[in-house]
């Protein structure tokens, strides 16, 4: 813009100067030639008068002639008598010259001659003298072009200086015009009151600014919404383009895949994770088929679901969803182990039963041995029944849907009841059971807790049963009850074999038994403590195990009221 303004102002100045110069020159030249013509006339009159007086001799005395005057004297027949510049004798006849002709006819003749070669303009003035001869005075002057050419350098100098002035002023002016435009506050276009001419532009600009701001807000809001959703998802989300480069990802995806690159966007998915299942899932999705895979790394299981993004019949990218299924997988493993254990535990007594029954039916057994076998069959069948009972119990505990009826239970009564039922097995091992109680209860009601009788019965039964089974001959079992306002504590201490510290965590697992070699000696399904754990959990309680190998074990239940 600055350049344009400068260019035009200089151009304008230049053109006006040149035109003015030419115009002035012409006007001046016209005046000049007019006055010269008059001058020549005057000169001719003077000289004619002088010649009339003193004849040709005057002409000769005039030399040298002032200015560029040329005097010629011509006879009435046209031959030249005298010429101030050339040899008169050699000159041609002048009768046909227009000024001479006019002078011969009317006494005065005028003419002008333009000589191209000399770039001179010559004015003639001819007068007829009294003797009939004609006196011609010629005055030469620079032609219009020559005089113009003489002036051109001055003109150019003026043009140059005017250019310089125009440029300086132009720059100033331009700056004055442009500066406010440059200083426009484009963020708030309406507030500028620089030029009225800019008002429509500025108001349009404001409108567009508003639209852009609105759109930006919308985009930002959507982006925040999207990232709020994806970043708070536990699932990993990964969007890949058709060259498997990552377009978008969330924090979970980075964590789940243990992305090995710092700047994951636009990286190839392979650079994220080199795991085989991930690669397969992504490549098959790129081929247009949805696929699922399970990747395992460092004890974590990640489920990968890759879906192709199909647009206009071709795969444009892949959306990958990643799920941490470690817990599910671990549960699945537990379930598989449990099933295997159950089948094994069920099969063992059945094999024994079938074996004994076969012996009897084959008649191989002596008649007096039959009761022995029958007893064994009975024992195994009992074991089977109690095992199935435990499994049923556990599965019921697993599905706590609130269907178990709750009632007020006096723990002391319950423990006494269970102890009575276990009295026989205790006496077999000569183990004594003692019950003591913290005497803090202000009334009887406080010893009662709300619970499911059948389940609590099973829980206490299992704990006491274990305390007797794993006790030493002649040992003791102490049950201690304490009631507080918020919960009831029930602890069972035995003088048994104890549980090694590193196994205390595992005793509540299904089918887990501390001392495998003891298994055959001590009857049990391996599910007892599992039932205890789930039963207590169902009541919202806690279990604590303290045990010293060889000294005994204390199991404390904390049941909320």
């Amino acid at each position: 813009m600055k350049k344009r303004i400068l260019f035009f102002s200089c151009l304008l100045a230049g053109i006006s100067i040149v035109l003015t110069a030419i115009l002035i020159h012409f006007v001046v030249y016209r005046n000049l030639s007019e006055s010269q013509r008059v001058e020549v006339g005057k000169d001719a009159a003077y000289i004619a008068a002088a010649v009339e007086l003193s004849g040709e001799a005057y002409l000769k005395s005039l030399e040298p002639l002032p200015r560029e005057l040329r005097i010629t004297l011509i006879r009435p027949d046209g031959s030249v008598i005298f010429d101030s510049e050339a040899d008169a004798a050699r000159m041609e006849n002048h009768r046909d010259r227009p000024e001479i002709k006019a002078a011969l006819e009317s006494g005065v003749g005028q003419g002008a001659h333009f000589s191209r070669t000399l770039s001179k303009q010559t004015f003639y003035h001819a007068m007829r003298l009294s003797d009939g001869s004609v006196l011609r005075v010629a005055s030469a002057t620079d032609s219009v072009f020559l005089s113009f050419l003489r002036l051109i350098f001055i003109t150019l100098a003026i043009v140059a200086s005017v250019f310089a002035v125009a440029a300086t002023i132009g720059t100033r002016v331009t700056r004055l015009i442009v500066e406010p435009i440059n200083r426009l506050n484009l963020d708030a276009p309406e507030e500028n009151a620089v030029y009225d001419e800019l008002a429509p532009l500025l108001s349009r600009m404001k409108k567009q600014n508003d639209t852009i701001a609105e759109q930006m807000r919308e985009i930002r809001r959507k982006q925040i919404e999207f990232s709020a959703i994806t970043d708070n998802m536990r699932e990993g989300l990964l969007v890949l383009d058709r060259d498997a480069r990552v377009l978008s990802c969330n924090a979970s995806a980075t964590a789940l895949l243990r992305a090995r690159v710092n700047d994951p966007i636009h990286r190839n998915a392979l650079e994220w994770s080199r795991s085989e299942p991930f690669y397969r899932a992504v490549t098959s999705a790129l081929d247009g088929a949805s696929s699922e895979a399970l990747a395992e790394s460092e004890g974590k299981y990640i489920q990968i679901m890759a879906n192709p993004v199909v647009d206009a019949g071709s795969v444009q990218g892949v959306v990958v969803v990643l799920l941490d299924v470690t817990e599910r997988e671990n549960r699945e493993i537990l379930r598989r182990e449990f099933t295997a254990n159950v089948s094994h535990e069920l099969k063992t007594p059945l094999t024994a039963i079938s074996g004994y029954a076969e012996i009897i039916s084959n008649g191989v057994a002596k008649i007096e041995d039959v009761p022995v076998f029958a007893e064994k069959i009975c024992g195994e069948a009992q074991r089977l029944i109690s095992l199935i009972g435990d499994i049923v119990m556990l599965s019921k505990l697993d599905e706590d849907d609130g269907s178990h009826p709750r009632e007020a239970i006096d723990l002391k009564e319950l423990v006494e009841d269970v102890a009575a039922r276990l009295a026989e097995s205790a006496s077999k091992k000569s183990v004594t059971i003692a019950l003591s109680e913290e005497e803090s209860a202000e009334n009887a009601e406080i010893t009662k807790i709300r619970g499911v009788r059948r389940i609590l019965d099973e829980v206490v039964m299992n704990i006491l049963d274990n305390a007797i089974k794993y006790n030493v001959e002649g040992g003791s079992v102490t049950v201690f009850l304490e009631n507080t306002a918020s919960h009831a504590l029930l602890s069972v201490t035995d003088t048994g074999i104890g549980i090694p510290a590193d196994e205390q965590e595992r005793i509540f697992e299904r089918f887990y038994r501390v001392d495998k070699s003891r298994c055959s000696a001590v009857e049990g399904t391996g599910l007892g403590l599992s039932i205890v754990k789930h039963g207590v959990k169902l009541h919202g309680g806690e279990i604590e195990v303290k045990s010293t190998v060889g000294a005994g074990t204390t199991i404390t239940l904390k049941l909320p009221r």
């Binding site: 690159v261 190839n268 795991s275 085989e276």
Partner: protein, 222 residues
């Protein structure tokens, strides 16, 4: 044309990452086949070997095509030449993993392997390979250099395993065969470590254009 060139370079890059992943898998399978005595893993390690070889051919073809058609210069040229070297090392790693799997099948039930640091060593070599591939993926110079330095750890482990095996054999000559096999296996693992260090060196070269001398400086300095 340049677009195609870029695509080819990218294919080269991902191809090597993929091949690296296969090698990692192969070592892991070989280790599981040896220590976990799992037959499917041993078979998988053997199968991976052919996959790795196929990968190598594919990558070499890309390299040759790029060199002939595009006549790359400067860092691109370095990238391609180092890719050619890296795949050679990776192929050797695949071979070693397969060899380990083969020998492992004679080792089922042997108790000797739990007496020495063979598991530590397999873990260390796997780490070396993983790190060198990571360095390649990210163009991580520091990581590549750390792999080169880490080779000493693996070498050290090999020396310890070797002397451990000698001690076992001199006490109980019945375990001779197992010890021999384990010596082979640990040597293979040590070679895998060397190849991984080579890969890291090529990564350093492709980034900086400097070769070998750096490593010598590092060794003598550290």
């Amino acid at each position: 044309m340049r677009e195609g060139y870029k695509k080819q370079l990218e294919a080269l890059h991902t191809g090597i990452i993929r091949m690296g992943a296969l090698c990692e898998d192969a070592i892991e399978c070989a280790a599981k086949g040896l220590i976990g005595e799992s037959r499917p893993y041993r078979e998988k390690a053997l199968k991976l070997k052919s996959g790795i070889e196929a990968s190598k051919h594919e990558i070499e073809e890309i390299c040759i095509r790029l060199l002939l058609r595009e006549q790359p210069v400067a860092s691109d040229l370095r990238q391609i030449t180092s890719a050619q070297m890296i795949v050679t090392d990776m192929e050797r790693i695949g071979d070693q993993a397969a060899n380990i799997a083969k020998i492992s099948s004679y080792m089922v039930g042997s108790s000797v392997k739990s007496d020495i640091h063979i598991e530590d060593m397999s873990r260390a070599t796997l780490k070396m390979l993983s790190d060198s591939v990571d360095a390649f993926v990210a163009g991580d110079l520091a990581k590549a250099r750390s792999v080169i330095v880490y080779d000493d750890v693996v070498d050290d482990l090999f020396a310890r395993i070797r002397s451990g095996l000698i001690a076992i054999v001199s006490n109980d000559s019945a375990k001779g065969e197992a010890c021999f096999n384990l010596l082979m296996i640990s040597k293979y693992l040590e070679r895998i470590g060397d190849h991984s260090a080579n890969i890291a060196e090529w990564v350093v070269y492709s980034i900086t254009g400097k070769r070998k001398r750096f490593q010598d400086d590092l060794r003598s300095g550290g």
